[in-house]
Amino acid sequence: MTERPLSLRSGAEALAAPLPPLLAEAEHLASTVIVGDHGRRRAGLGDTFWQYRPAQYHDERRHIDWRRSAKSDAQFVQDKEWQIAQSVQVWVDQSAAMAFSSTAQGVTKADRARVLALAVAILLLRGGERVGLTGDLLPPKRGEAQAAQMARLLSEDHPDDFGAPVADGMLAHSRAVFLSDFLGDLDAVERALGRAADRDVRGALVQVLDPAEEAFPFDGRTVFESMTGAIRHETLKAGELRARYLDRLAERQARLAELARLSGWQFHTHHTGDSATAALLWLYAALERHA
């Protein structure tokens, strides 16, 4: 178990490495006062140079830029650009359903979701954002240590069959990412999105599915069981169910997309058979997008 957060983190780091640091846009100025890396196009607290202005009477002498002032008779003070940081909160479904993989050596949905979550977290942290988990376990913070902490928390498994998004403890006006297969109760998702919308939180829903769940390649007499075995369904001709199953899945995805649209979120379906980088790129674009 001690190995797991490490390997999870290194996988995520490897995935995050090729992308430029992601700068989520800060929408609301007044709500956050913590200085981050987003230029506000005006003078204020920050690290990067903004302008030289003639020194005023209220400027302390130690603020005078002597190199600039030596070029002329007047004295100048260097203004910095005012920068703020954005908070991003992540929820990853850690339920038993996510541990499914259709092939013996394949990637489970949980693995993929965790790597994606952590990768996007590392990118954001590198960009100077604050990243945390929804709920009260890990409030958004900056710094590398946060990624390690996140990896540790994400590698835990929950015993439930299906997970429901945790929408507690979300900072107002922040951003959020929900990663799950969304095969459980959709009302929980709807409620979570509602709470997020209340607090003006925008974000992205990523549905991680196994290719088998999208293709339903089963036939013959079959007893389907959920991962914990709590839910069972027996059929004599699994092949006959395929069309109806796929209809239901499409219906679900349509509903999720609708929910996301209504609450100003983005929705995306990702398959574990595909490249994780594609999903990360989508997430990058989704968080960058103006809501």
Binding site: P217, G220, R221, V223, M227, H233, L236, K237
Partner: protein
């Protein structure tokens, strides 16, 4: 045994199991295929979905039928069904089991043993006593009847003999029979005169039953060699219907492994007992054949051993250079060809090619020097048992071969120059031959009076000379000398092979001498009278199954016994070696025939029309297994496991089922040497291409390429030669034959070519290619120079077949093939450039400025003037390397280019310009 029509069952009570089948039907019907459990998170979406149609939970009828069939097949199989069961024949009194035990039995000997054992077992179960007698190995007295069980144990160890029964011994034995007994005779199906008497004798004693195999008996007569083809007949005893047999010629391949060397199918016409095969094989292959055999028939009669009669010696003829346009009668090989063509296979070609064919004899007519590699190979061949015959001639006399020390490929040392006797400028008369000494291989040959010798090379007297002389002239000078070398011999005729130096090649003695030297083959007619009083040792003998075995310590055979060539107990078929030759004894002689047995009607013959007993158990069980495999597949398909995530298992099962099916034959990948790249060949041959040898030093290679590019451009502009872009070649890997001309810059670090590359280069030089060696140091020409490149060139050239060289003479054709030149500068301007030396006897024609020189192109030009640098231009035609100073330098570059033009012209047109010298004489002769 319970019989039902043509089928009998060994364990009929097992058939009761079939009654259980309907019960099984009900049982199987009730049990549907078990469901698969699958973990699937999407189950949440499935809840509430019901199956559309009410699927039966029972096994489908066709699957049931499949299973029932499988079970029925198993039950039937274990009940031991037999098709066409043999019924037993009761009898009483002692039983004599008589076996022919000849080669004809060998083909199905195990079946015969089974039949014998069955007969003896039946006798034992009936309480009869029995005796077992093999006609090819008769007991001293009549049959001794013993307990049949004991006799059956003896029978297992019995083997057939590779010959027929001895008729005399057989009639004696028939006379000695006494008492009453029944006889069961296992006949081999071949008619023999002795059968009738024996049958009569046996019938006096009791009833006779005959067993005869329905399988046809085949035989092969010994091969004969007629008019270049091998003829042999296949025989068969039973002549009904057409048939086809395949005859294989077996023998060792070059590696000594026995292989099928040729294979021909032979069709018997219906009603004919004899089919003739004519095989025309290359001599190399023919000499290797040790035996012919009919494929798939393991019997001594179906094997025909070959002996010396089929072999003809292979003689390779090589003469020293063919650069002289001579009349055919002056060709050094003409008389050898005439003498050897009727009795030997002649091979002509280069020494390297000839050695590959591993001939028996190599004749070198006036070949003086060999490259070191060739000499090495040739010596290895001689020591391996080859016979090297050399003839003297002007070249050998003029060369230094075997002068200072004994050349390993010469029998004696030679004195310089040789001698000429009886000519216009010498005293004495042409010498005749002295009678041959008793220890000479020529001893006993009569010497015609008109054989005389005008000129010869002289052996250097030394202590070993006397022992090596095998023919000498009347004055005691050696004419033919011989030396042993390893297992082979080296023989030197001190005269030419044509009539230039002596009249020996014109006489019949020449042919006889060659014959005595075992150069040509002796007439292969078996001289039976000469066999009397000789003794022959078996080398290899055939057993009845046609397998050749070492004779071991078998006693020898007298010549007169061998003369009739019919094998017997004391002379099994095989190869018999006498003093000088080997004779094959085969089961058949050339004119023997095979006749089927003709039994009188009163004798019951079993085995001919009786259909064979066929146990069906294996088929049924196999079929049941097959059905069960299908059942697995069907069950998988029904339960949905044939598709989906775990289909691999099903695919493996399917593979298992299909494994029994024959796979289509696949074309064998040709693993031969990688052929020359087609692109390379096309690029090199679609135009004239000048090529350079890649040295591996990038600067040198670039300069060579630029130089040849410049030269190609010059040729294009000034002459009708329009070369394509120059190419770099690596003699190790690339085919050289495409290029008329190779430029070879020598660097000090160059690797020596490998053996294969040397062979390639030598072939290139001999077939008219030219290499321009350039040491690029302006230094080589000074004798004994020791520049690193010069040394390297010497090392490289050591393995090449380079003729004697001389600096380009004033009248060499290179000086006038296109431009008139006397200097051959490159970047350097040393004078000395070396080409093949003109023959010493070249003379200037009357009134002509040039000598009448040889045909042909000099294979090498060697110099150190760094021509490539002088020729080199960039793509725009600007010179790359400064030459000399000012206008003088430009002049030197121009002359260098002209030399290049002359050189390529020389390569491509040969001595065309030299021939022009003869134009006035030709016109004169034409009367114009």
């Amino acid at each position: 045994m319970w019989t039902l029509g043509p089928i009998a069952f060994a364990a009929p009570w097992l058939l009761l199991g079939l009654v259980a089948l309907p019960i099984l039907w009900l049982l199987l019907r009730a049990v549907p295929p078990a469901p698969i459990r699958r973990r699937f998170p999407g189950v949440a979406l499935l809840l509430g979905l019901t199956d559309d149609e009410s699927q039966t939970d029972r096994t489908p009828w066709w699957l049931l039928l499949l299973r029932m069939l499988a079970v029925a097949a198993v039950i039937l199989g274990f009940a031991g069904p037999v098709l066409n069961p043999q019924e037993e024949r009761p009898g009483g009194g002692p039983l004599l089991v008589l076996v022919d035990g000849t080669w004809a039995d060998a083909r199905d000997w195990p079946r015969r043993l089974d039949r014998i054992e069955a007969a003896l077992r039946d006798a034992a179960s009936d309480g009869r006593r029995a005796a077992l007698v093999r006609l090819t190995d008769l007991p001293a007295e009549g049959p001794v009847f013993r307990d049949a069980q004991a006799v059956a144990q003896e029978a297992a160890g019995m083997v057939p003999a590779p010959h027929g029964p001895d008729p005399e011994g057989l009639s004696d034995w028939a006379d000695s029979l006494s008492g009453d007994f029944d006889t069961f005779w296992l006949s081999d199906g071949v008619a023999r005169d002795s059968r009738a008497d024996l049958l009569a004798a046996l019938e006096e004693r009791g009833t006779v039953r005959v067993f005869e195999s329905p399988r046809p008996v085949y035989g092969l007569t010994p091969p004969r060699f007629e008019d270049g083809t091998i003829t042999l007949d296949a025989l068969r005893a039973r002549t009904g219907g057409a048939a086809e047999v395949r005859v294989n010629a077996m023998g060792p391949d070059p590696a000594g492994v026995e292989r099928r060397l040729a294979s021909e199918s032979l069709a018997f016409i219906a009603g004919e007992g004899r089919a003739t095969l004519e095989l025309s094989l290359p001599p190399e292959l023919r000499n290797r054949i040790t035996r012919f055999e009919i494929q798939g028939v393991s019997s001594a009669g179906a094997v025909a051993l070959t002996d010396d009669a089929l072999k003809r010696r292979e003689v390779a003829l090589i003469s020293g250079g063919n650069d002289r346009e001579e009349l055919e009668l002056l060709d050094p090989l003409h008389y050898l060809r005439q003498a050897l063509a009727p009795s030997a296979e002649l091979i002509e070609g280069t020494l390297a090619d000839v050695l590959l064919a591993n001939p028996d004899v190599i004749i070198l007519a006036d070949v003086a020097t060999l490259s070191s590699l060739e000499a090495e190979d040739l010596q290895a061949w001689v020591e391996d048992g080859g016979l090297l015959v050399r003839f003297a001639g002007p070249r050998l006399a003029a060369s230094d071969v075997s002068r200072q020390s004994l050349d390993p490929l010469m029998p004696v040392r030679l004195r310089a120059g040789g001698r000429s006797i009886g000519g216009a400028m010498s005293w004495g008369e042409p010498k005749a031959l002295a009678p041959f000494a008793a220890d000479s291989p020529f001893y006993g040959l009569t010497i015609p009076d008109d054989v005389s010798v005008n000129a010869q090379v002289m052996a250097q007297p030394d202590p070993t000379l006397a022992a090596r002389v095998i023919a000498q002239l009347a004055d005691g000078t050696p004419l033919v000398t011989r030396k042993d070398s390893g297992q082979g011999n080296i023989v030197l005729f001190h005269v030419t092979a044509n009539a230039e130096w002596s009249t020996l090649p014109l006489s019949g003695l020449f042919v006889q001498m060659l014959e005595r030297l075992a150069v040509s083959t002796r007439p292969a007619v078996p001289d039976l009278e000469a066999l009397e009083g000789t003794s022959w040792m078996p080398e290899d003998v055939l057993d009845a199954f046609g397998v050749l075995e070492d004779a071991g310590a078998l006693p020898g055979v007298d010549g007169d016994r061998l003369a009739d060539l019919t094998p017997g107990a004391e002379m099994p078929p095989g190869l018999y070696a006498g003093e000088e030759r080997r004779i094959a004894v085969n089961v058949f002689t050339a004119d023997s025939t095979l006749q089927p047995t003709a039994w009188p009607d009163r004798i019951p013959v079993e085995g001919l029309e009786v259909t064979r007993e066929t146990p069906l158990k294996g088929w049924l069980i196999g079929g049941a297994l097959m059905l069960l495999m299908l059942d697995i597949l069907a069950a998988l398909a029904l339960s949905g496991r044939l598709r989906g995530p775990r289909a691999g298992v099903a695919a493996a099962m399917l593979g298992l089922v299909l494994a029994g099916l024959p796979t289509p034959p696949q074309a064998q990948e040709d693993d031969a040497d990688p052929p020359v790249s087609e692109d390379f060949a096309v690029a090199a041959t679609s135009d004239v291409v000048l090529a350079y040898v890649e040295t591996g030093v990038p600067r040198v290679d670039e300069m060579s390429e630029a130089g040849l590019y410049g030269l190609s451009n010059t040729l294009f502009q000034r002459t009708s030669i329009e070369p394509a872009m120059p190419m770099g070649v690596d003699p190790e890997t690339d085919e050289l034959a495409f290029f008329p001309f190779l430029y070879w810059p020598v660097t000090a670090e160059q690797d020596l070519p490998s053996r294969a590359a040397y062979a390639k280069l030598n072939r290139y030089l001999r077939t008219g290619g030219m290499i321009l060696f350039d040491t690029r140091d302006a230094d080589l020409a000074r004798f004994g120079s020791s520049s690193p490149e010069g040394k390297r060139l010497q090392a490289i050239a050591r393995g090449l077949d380079i003729p004697p060289l001389e600096p380009i003479p004033q009248d060499h054709v290179l000086t006038r093939t296109f431009y008139l030149l006397q200097d051959f500068p490159g970047r350097h301007a040393t004078r000395d450039v070396w080409v093949e030396a003109a023959p010493p006897d070249a003379q200037a024609a009357e009134g002509m400025p040039f000598r009448d020189l040889n045909d042909g192109v000099t294979p090498v030009v060697i110099g150190g003037n760094d021509w490539a640098a002088a020729w080199a231009t960039d793509e725009d035609g600007n010179p790359l390397v400064p030459i000399g100073r000012g206008m003088a330098g430009e002049r030197q570059r121009e002359i260098a280019l002209r030399f290049g033009v002359n050189l390529v012209m020389h390569v491509l047109t040969g001595n065309y310009k030299s021939d022009q010298v003869h134009v006035p004489a030709l016109l004169d002769r034409l009367g114009q």
